[in-house]
Amino acid sequence: MPCVTWNCRATRAMGVEILWKNLESVMNRLILVVNLTVLLSLNYTLTAWIPRVYWKAAHWAQGLKGRMLKTKVAPSLAGLARPDKNKSNMSSSELPRKEANVLKGHEGAVLAARFNSDGNYCLSCGKDRTIRLWNPHRGIHIKNYKSHGREVRDVHVTPDNSKLCSCGGDRQIFYWDVSTGRVIRKFRGHDGEVNAVKFNEYASVVVSAGYDRSLRAWDCRSHSTEPIQIIDSFLDTVMSVCLTKTEIIGGSVDGTVRTFDIRIGREISDDLGQPVNCISMSNDGNCILASCLDSSIRLLDRSTGELLQEYKGHACKSYKMDCCLTNSDAHVIGGSEDGSIFFWDLVDASVVSKFRAHSSVVTSVSYHPKDNCMITSSVDGSVRVWKT
């Protein structure tokens, strides 16, 4: 059966034989293979699933044998794994590496570029105090949003694309109406520059991360301008924030990624030991990608807090630079201070692709929610659109 052989190859490539070694009987191995086949036949690409496959397999084996196979084995296995060359080539050919458009218009550095929720438009903001709305696929500049008093550091769109929020050096969070371009509300209260903002799922709350070592949640529904929650357990500047349905996750220069679970009222702090520059969540929501200032991007398992992988090779020492995952979670994308873009394989952390995209520091990378398309922004003042 071709399907089976393919799977066998895949498992070999993943280095699961270590696990096999631990399962004594041939019978068990066979069952394991079958099980892996089931797992792998999901409509995700193979590589993205590998770490989880390990764990599943380990757990499964645990139930089977009644023996403690520690899930801790998984990361080291991930380190040992060598995926099939063909496979990785195939997926890497789908990487957006061709420049489709250059969006020019910003004066000075562009500090962030973000797709909207459906990926048809994108927003960029920068040192010229403006937020710009573009159609990246046609390369058209649509609108300018001007009201910030200083540079705009981050921008985010609601899922229904009707509202914007932005923040920046003027210590305020602006809540915009997209179509009219008017500021609906301004949230003041941060004692320092605001580094990042995000809407929650219902676009009812804006969470901002500030230089004043706090995360603040602002209510968009009521008219109060006071934050509804101040999270100040960080010890240093909060650089980045991520939201899930139930959690607020913040990455800080104090080296921690802190997850605030609203549902159970818990704070989970994962200390990485290195200043965290930017965090972004994997599409399956199981991992956190944290870009650290020691020129490495770390992949954390959210449930256990384990370090799954480290991605190195780029330069990230002093600037806030984004990182993200591809839609399939197969590759990690990160910018570098020399203007190049890196693609790493998620599992074995090898640099799959690398090219020079900008003439200066790449400040932001954003991946299209559905397609293989990417926008990058840079200090050189341009936003570039990349497609396969």
Binding site: K127, G273, L307, V361
Partner: protein
């Protein structure tokens, strides 16, 4: 308006409703806090204290009256008066103080405001004044001719040298110096130009005689010399009228246009000849123009070329004539080369001054330009220009080297090079007196060894040989004994200088008479010798360790030393006398030694090579070790041996893991264990194959525990706001529950700005101390020095603690008073006994501080507050009223005053029978001495198990021995602390310092940060641990009271 309302007549102002006002006020306050801070000034609104904006009327400024709601205008206080722009253009009105004065005030000022004759050097009075002065001098000076010299004979110089110079430069009497060309100049020039044009046209029609003088409105004339005129008889006459020089660009146009009118052949020499006759200041400019354009004339270019983008009449060199010459030279050079490179000097001159501004957009006029606006992305290309210049050098060389003779090239090049750096008016000296003199390097003496020998250890080493003074029993007075011991230790450590210093300092103090041969001198000698001995041994050992790195065999002792372990009890007994205190000292410095990172740890001794037979493997193993111990994280890319198969690699890795573990174990093992033993066990060929799963896994798990520092996961309770839950569409997990106790961590942190770096205290190190140090002695017995240090710390701590903290934490306590009463009752007898020890401590601390300060060149405040000691000592009483828990915490508390009190007491207990009933607390402290050690152990057991109460948010390795740890670290960092200057004055001023620091926390350096955190976290630790026991809060409060008391006293 309603029709109803029209019927009513309103008088007065309506009363506003109370709530409206308060509402508005509130809003105003809120706005003021948020708004003003965030908005740029031009967007801020002015409101009165009620929060209203005042409407001033539509034509008088709307909501904003005056100039930004001030009474003034943009021009000042007086509004600008209207002037018709038809007849005379509005001018910038010069305001003087007289504009603002009333008549009578002017009259008043008339006398005071005016030029005094003394400074009127240019007027007539100057001469008069000078003459008077001369007269006076003459009278004073004895001269050959007796009596005053008649005035007619000796006249003082009527003109000062400044006036002379000015005259030479073309200045005349009766004219202002600086802007002589303000208004009259313009007219003058216009007149001149008109005249010139008229003359030229006239001349073109009918040439007029050359020697006809042409009157210029400025009243100085240029007459072409006769021969010049004669030589140019046949030619159309060229008369150059040189107008006053305001900007020579204009002038040049004039001249050039005139010249071009004539369309005749002309000689540049003619021009320059004319120019020669002009006054000096003008010649320069003229010459310049002529020179610059000469070549162009010669080539017959008849049109004006714009070389630059400046407007007409713009002179870039107006205020920097030095650069003009440079530019000219450069242009000439360029032309010679046919090279069109433009000079970069110009750009650098007129480029933006604040080079690092972000490009493309500026900042508002009213906004300040601060660090945030700097373009952080711009790379520092500041040296670009110089690079270009450097590039030019060789190219020039290349061009010139085409010329035939080498010598001339060089000389010429030199000239060119020199010329460029020469200011106009100066000339390069052909022969320079200055010659670079070179000396031979000093001859190194043959016996010189390139080693710096530090005097300190040497001294102590030398002193090792000094015969020991006879053993003397310590003096009866335990205080004196303590003092002597402390001083001896300090002297041994700091050198003889310290002794001299303290002797000088304490000459009158009877307590210190032992220094100069008084009571207890013998004992002092003996102690000193012992200390020297100890130090010498220590230093020698260190030296030995350093000098012989290739030491093959390690003795148990040296290894212990490298690992920071305590030497065996026996050895210390040998060197020192049997006195108890000496043991303490030994222990103390051993303790501090334990925190030195054993530097040779990473270097494997020769023996520890488990894979000797396979060098490649050994290499990989070493790589592995390096990664393991230095990175802290397991490296993922294990790329060294890429040719190995997966399985082999995994197996090898496991092998390595095990070997490393074994080595580790061997290193850490007890003293009795020979280091080669575990290696033997390795060498015996025990290999970990995949079959040995259990062992591997064990090693693995342990390994993970030891080396996995990061990422580290911690969990805390966090309470989301109800609104947040609602907005996230979740059920509030804390719904209906009372608000949780404020998390000590966050609260204190937000007040104290603690960056978390206390985790530096590594668990391993702490564990080592824990194991090695006999528990009963850990915190209890302190040397005098340490006491002194501790005191410094504590003073600093106390001062830095904001008062609000206490309020924040303890304000809800209502039943503290009872506790207070209890403790106060007990404290009285204690107080008395404490006085002696505290006084002693203080003396010692004083002395130490001052001498230290002198050494470092700082001023030490004369009065070191010591009442903290008392307050600390008071804490001890609390266990009386409280049980185990409190003891637990006192064990961790062990503060200096406390300790010395214990010290003194314990000694007293030995010599003197135990005191009576009311004083049972001292017994208690003795008991505590022993308690504390156990407590520590318990603590550590807890720490090791990582048992953490969810509410306490500390990740510090908190225990009393970790505070010991800190103490010893402090010891090493003491200098830094002192030199940072923040502790030199621990009074309220320091508080200010703290506040300002909190303000400037952005700028705080990481070093400061870390030092801070260490201190604060220490408190914080105390606090959080104490929180369960109420009595402790009481004592804390007392502490604060004592602090207040102290402050009062100081005041």
């Amino acid at each position: 308006m309603d029709s109803d309302e029209e019927d009513y007549v309103f008088f007065g102002t309506p009363i506003e409703r109370e709530e409206e006002i308060t509402n508005r006020r509130k809003k105003a306050a809120a706005e003021a806090s948020g708004n003003l801070r965030a908005l740029p000034p031009w967007k801020q609104e002015v409101r009165d204290e009620e929060g209203r904006r005042r409407f001033h009327g539509a034509f008088t400024g709307g909501f904003s009256a005056g100039y930004f709601n001030t009474v003034g205008t943009k021009e000042g206080w007086a509004p600008q008066s209207f002037t018709s722009s038809r007849k005379n253009r509005a001018e910038v009105k010069q305001q003087s103080i007289f504009n603002f004065l009333d008549e009578d005030e002017k009259a008043e000022l008339e006398g005071t405001l005016g030029t005094s004759s003394q400074f009127d050097t240019f007027g007539f009075t100057a001469a008069e004044h000078a003459r008077k002065q001369a007269d006076k001098e003459q009278k004073q000076r004895p001269s050959a001719i007796p009596g005053p010299i008649p005035d007619e004979l000796v006249l003082p110089a009527s003109e000062s040298i400044g006036v002379k110079l000015l005259l030479k430069m073309g200045w005349r009497h009766g004219r202002a110096i600086n802007d002589s060309r303000a208004s009259s100049l313009y007219d003058a020039r216009r007149e001149a130009r008109k005249a010139l044009l008229a003359f030229a046209s006239e001349d073109a029609k009918a040439p007029c005689p050359a020697d006809e003088p042409v009157e210029e409105p400025e009243s100085f004339t240029v007459q072409p010399s006769d021969d010049d005129a004669r030589s140019s008889q046949s030619l159309p006459k060229v008369v150059y009228l040189i107008t006053l020089i305001g900007d020579e660009e204009n002038l040049f146009h004039d001249v050039e246009s005139t010249i071009m009118r004539y369309e005749g052949p002309y000689d540049a020499a003619e021009i320059s000849d004319l120019v020669q006759q002009l006054p000096m200041a003008k010649t320069e400019v003229m010459e310049d123009v002529v020179n610059a354009k000469e070549a162009r004339f010669r080539r017959g270019i008849r049109y004006k070329r714009f070389l630059d983008l400046h407007g007409l009449g713009y002179d870039p060199f107006k205020h920097a004539p030095e650069f003009r010459e440079k530019k000219r030279l450069h242009l000439l050079n360029d032309k010679q080369r046919g090279d069109r490179k433009t000079m970069s000097i110009k750009d650098s001159l007129f480029g933006s001054k604040s080079g690092k501004a972000a490009p493309g957009f500026g900042i508002g006029a009213l906004e300040e330009y601060d660090a945030e606006d700097e373009d952080i992305y711009a790379a520092g290309y500041d040296f670009e220009e110089t690079c270009i210049e450097d590039d030019e050098e060789p190219s020039r060389l290349g061009i010139e080297s085409k010329q035939p003779s080498r010598l001339s090239i060089e000389s010429k090049q030199k000239v060119v090079a020199r010329d460029q750096g020469v200011l106009p008016g100066f000339k390069v000296a052909s022969v320079s007196d200055y010659q670079l003199e070179r000396f031979d390097p000093p001859v190194i003496p043959k016996d010189f060894a390139p080693h710096h020998k530090f005097p300190g250890p040497l001294e102590t080493l030398k002193k090792l040989d000094v015969p020991s003074p006879p053993e003397v029993p310590p003096p009866d007075d335990s205080n004196l004994k303590l003092l002597i011991e402390g001083v001896a230790k300090l002297v041994a450590r700091c050198g003889k200088l310290f002794e001299d210093l303290s002797r000088k300092k304490n000459q009158s103090n009877p307590l210190f008479s032992f220094l100069s041969g008084g009571n207890g001198h013998d004992y002092y000698e003996r102690r000193l010798w012992e200390e020297h001995q100890k130090f010498g041994v220590q230093a020698k050992l260190l030296l030995d360790g350093k000098l012989s790195p290739s030491m093959q065999k390690m003795t148990a002792e040296s290894r212990g030393k490298l690992l920071g372990e305590k030497p065996l009890e026996r050895s210390s007994r040998e060197t020192t006398s049997s006195s108890v205190a000496s043991g303490e000292f030994q222990l103390q410095f051993n303790l501090s030694d334990t925190f030195k990172k054993p530097d040779s740890f990473s270097k494997l001794p020769d023996v520890a090579k488990p894979f000797k037979d396979d060098p490649a493997k050994q290499e990989r193993f070493e790589q592995f070790l390096k990664e393991k111990y230095e990175g802290g994280l397991r490296s993922t890319g294990y790329t060294v041996a890429s040719n190995m198969s997966e399985a082999a690699r995994a197996r090898e890795k496991l092998d390595f893991e095990a070997a490393a573990e074994a080595i580790e174990k061997g290193k850490r093992g007890k003293e009795s264990m020979v280091s080669t033993q575990p290696l033997d066990f390795l060498a015996s060929g025990m290999q970990f194959t995949s079959g040995g799963l259990e062992q591997v896994e064990n090693g693995h798990a342990e390994d993970l525990v030891t080396k996995k520092m990061y990422p580290r996961r911690e969990e805390f309770q966090w309470r989301p706001a109800p609104v947040l839950c609602k907005r996230f569409d979740l059920i509030d997990p804390f719904m209906g529950k009372p608000p949780p106790a404020p998390r000590a961590r966050s609260k204190i942190d937000s007040l104290l700005f603690i960056p978390d770096s206390v985790k530096v205290a590594k668990p391993e190190e702490v564990a080592i101390t824990n194991r090695d140090v006999p528990a009963a002695q850990t915190g209890a017995q302190m040397t005098i020095e340490d006491v002194a240090e501790e005191e410094i710390e504590i003073v600093a701590e106390n001062v830095e603690r904001p008062v609000d903290l206490y309020k924040a934490i303890f304000s809800d306590d209502s039943d503290d008073d009872v506790e207070d009463l209890n403790t106060k009752k007990v404290e009285d007898p204690e107080k008395k006994t404490e006085v002696a020890t505290t006084a002693l401590n203080r003396l010692i601390a004083d002395d130490f501080l001052e001498s230290l300060g002198k050494e470092l060149g700082f001023e030490v405040p004369p009065d070191t507050p010591y009442s903290t000691n008392k307050a600390n000592a008071l804490r001890i009483e609390t266990p009386n009223s409280d049980s185990g828990n409190a003891k637990f915490s006192t064990g961790t508390y062990l503060n200096p005053g406390n300790e010395t009190a214990q010290d003194g007491d314990s000694q007293k207990n030995k010599s003197i029978p135990v005191r009576s009933g009311g004083y049972n607390s001292s017994k208690h402290t003795v008991g505590l001495l022993n308690m504390s050690g156990k407590v520590n152990e318990d603590k550590f057991a807890q720490e090791d198990k990582k048992v953490k109460s969810p509410s306490s948010r500390q990740r510090n390795w908190s225990s009393s021995s970790s505070s010991d740890d800190e103490r010893s670290r402090k010891h090493s960092k003491r200098h830094r602390h002192r030199s940072s200057g923040s502790y030199s004055d621990p009074s309220s001023d320091d508080r200010e310092h703290y506040r300002s620091r909190s303000k400037g926390k952005r700028e705080r350096s990481s070093r400061e940060k870390s030092s801070h955190s260490r201190k604060h976290s220490k408190h914080h630790k105390h606090r959080s641990r104490d929180s369960p026991s109420r009595s402790h809060r009481g004592s804390e409060r007392e502490h604060s009271e004592a602090r207040k008391e102290k402050r009062k006293r100081r005041d």
